[in-house]
Amino acid sequence: MSLILDKKIYSSRLIIGSGKYKDFEQTKKALDASGAEIITVAIKRTNIGQEKTKKNLLDYISPKDYKILPNTAGCFSAEDAIRVSLLARELLGDNLLKLEVLADKDTLLPNEKETLVAAKELVKLGFSIMAYTTDNISLAKSLEEIGCISVMPLASPIGTGQGIINPEKINKIIKNANVPIIVDAGIGTASDATIAMEMGCDGVLLNSAIAMSDNPELMAEAMKYAIISGRKAYKAKRMNISPIAIPSSNKKDAIS
């Protein structure tokens, strides 16, 4: 039941984001309740001001205890994404990276062309790239072919919680893939995550679904079971759908 990423084995197939929580304490509680072993972080300027006593996110979520997956959030060009990637590697001493190059600030959809350009360059630079992408089937294959260790198509746009908009496309991406496919962005609630896993996704990455719920810790736990449930159902292979009713007990033994 484990997920293998960059030659490391993870028992949880859930990856959670660290954004939008009330505070670091809540982030940590949600992370622990989710059972996730990998947590994404953004790489940004530090807050320079009077709040010197304010702790850093990495003080709460230590790279010793969790796999920290830096992302290139906020980048709109390959050039910016490469710059942020190099900073992330220097900060965390690790080649694992979630590549995210966005097209514009309104839709927050991935910029397909720049994602591909950045991925090519970063693979050359020795990074292990998990590429956030659209549900474009041929692009997903291209990202795999240039050496990304995982391809992460969106369920729906970032922060929308709309669930999987194009299940057929995600299905095709999974069927075509030789690397782990992790649905990233757009998951709204536990059933969305279960559906992704039932389809055969290797994992799910989500943030807002937990952080923006009324009770992040409880939703994190719900997500933990949603992922386990969906994976088991996928492996068990669901029954066929029948257009007509079929009785659950044997007809011939009916009392008549």
């Binding site: 984001g17 954004g19 953004a42 940004k44 850093n56 990495l58 003080d59 900060l91």
Partner: protein, 66 residues
């Protein structure tokens, strides 16, 4: 001389090493990475790097994100 720290201009009275600058401004901590004029300055070089007029310093860290 002036340096630009995370986009803000800062006046320096005298020449300083990057390390002294960080201490002086109470910025030295573990979970940061520093870029000057778009080049990453590895921690082991903070002592040796002498700040120059108009250096663009970026102090970067991990923050919440998905």
């Amino acid at each position: 001389m002036n340096v630009i720290l995370n986009g803000k201009k800062i006046f320096l009275e005298k020449k300083l090493s990057l390390n002294d600058f960080l201490i002086m401004h109470n910025l030295k901590e573990n979970n940061i990475v520093i870029e000057i004029n778009r080049n990453i300055i590895t921690k082991s070089l903070w002592h040796d790097y002498e700040l120059k007029n108009n250096d663009k310093i970026e102090i970067i860290t991990a923050v919440g994100g998905g």
